[in-house]
Amino acid sequence: MFEQLANLLIYHWGGLSPTSQLGAALHFFVMDTTKILVMLVLIIYLMGLFRTLLSPEKVREYIRGRSTALARIFAVTLGAVTPFCSCSSIPLFIGFVEAGIPLGVTFSFLIASPMINEVAVVLLIGLLGWQLTFFYVAAGLTVAYVGGALLERFHPEQWVEPYVWKIQMGVVTSPARDTSWRGRHEFALGEVEEIVGRIWPWVLIGIGVGAAVHGYVPQTWAETLAGKDNFLTVPLAVLIGIPLYSNAVGVIPLAEAMLNKGAAVGTTLALMMSIAAISLPELIMLRKVIRWPGLLLFVAVLTMAIILVGWTFNLLT
């Protein structure tokens, strides 16, 4: 359906040839924009209808007091399924610290959360297929688990701002939710408005870059530069991804275009994870509670973990 629409708009009415670079790029742009927009609205609405909100407050109660390994497994899984606005990172961090949850476990949660979420997963399945979705989720969970465990070894407590330890949290009160169908419908509509309103610039940029790659990058380039035999492209992709920041949904069209051009799976996954997981806005926010050496270590550990994941996938596929 979306392909027909793009065919009609670009080739038929626009008079562009499918073999021209501009034609191919615009076709990709129209097809992905319409497809992703429709999917986003549908997915977010449906999830809003059926979700009994899993709040960070509940996550905290699940994790507190468990053994470290178990707590980390919980933190990583819950991080993947709990949506939270990155503006909540700080209260969340302090809340976890206050509950006596080890810092490494908190880091695992903070790594998993932006990388994996249900909207990104459904879109990945729709655009790239089951297999790649499974790879991405497995790789993301691994990076979050291993990254948090490694950070723990460096005793990150030493870099936490002293005032954090003094904060006393009040009794957690979660306001009751309206569970009637009317209430659910309103909640779901609100979710669509809020999430689409927040992420659409990232998604459009992602589709734009994807369309440029699709139309203008020659197949041979992608195969030689980002092919699996080139050992250096994985670290390079991760380094490029660090200063770039996008929502997890926004990187999917870019990945789609790269894979179509013959870029290696590991390299593509590494770029996606680095763009979604390491972001400057989040680091600046975390700076309120952690001093720079701790943050740099956080970035370094994540970078290495993602590079290792990229290499592993390139070896396996």
Partner: protein, 78 residues
Amino acid sequence: MKQIKVLGSGCANCKTTYTRIEQVAQDQGLKIMLEKVEDLAAIMSYGVMSTPAVVIDNKVVHAGGVPAKAKIAEWLTV
């Protein structure tokens, strides 16, 4: 007069929440005391981990995300 506090560390969603409450109160012709709480220790003292959160007369009525206008109107008129 209702005392309303918006808890949040100054993110975009928190600002939207604040102006939206202001707007609804104005539309309904209600007088309220609206206040932003940006101090982390103060936010945490309400037991809230997801921001923006809304506190009315010292009771948390909402946490995490921008509340809908209809919801706000409901809070203000009860």
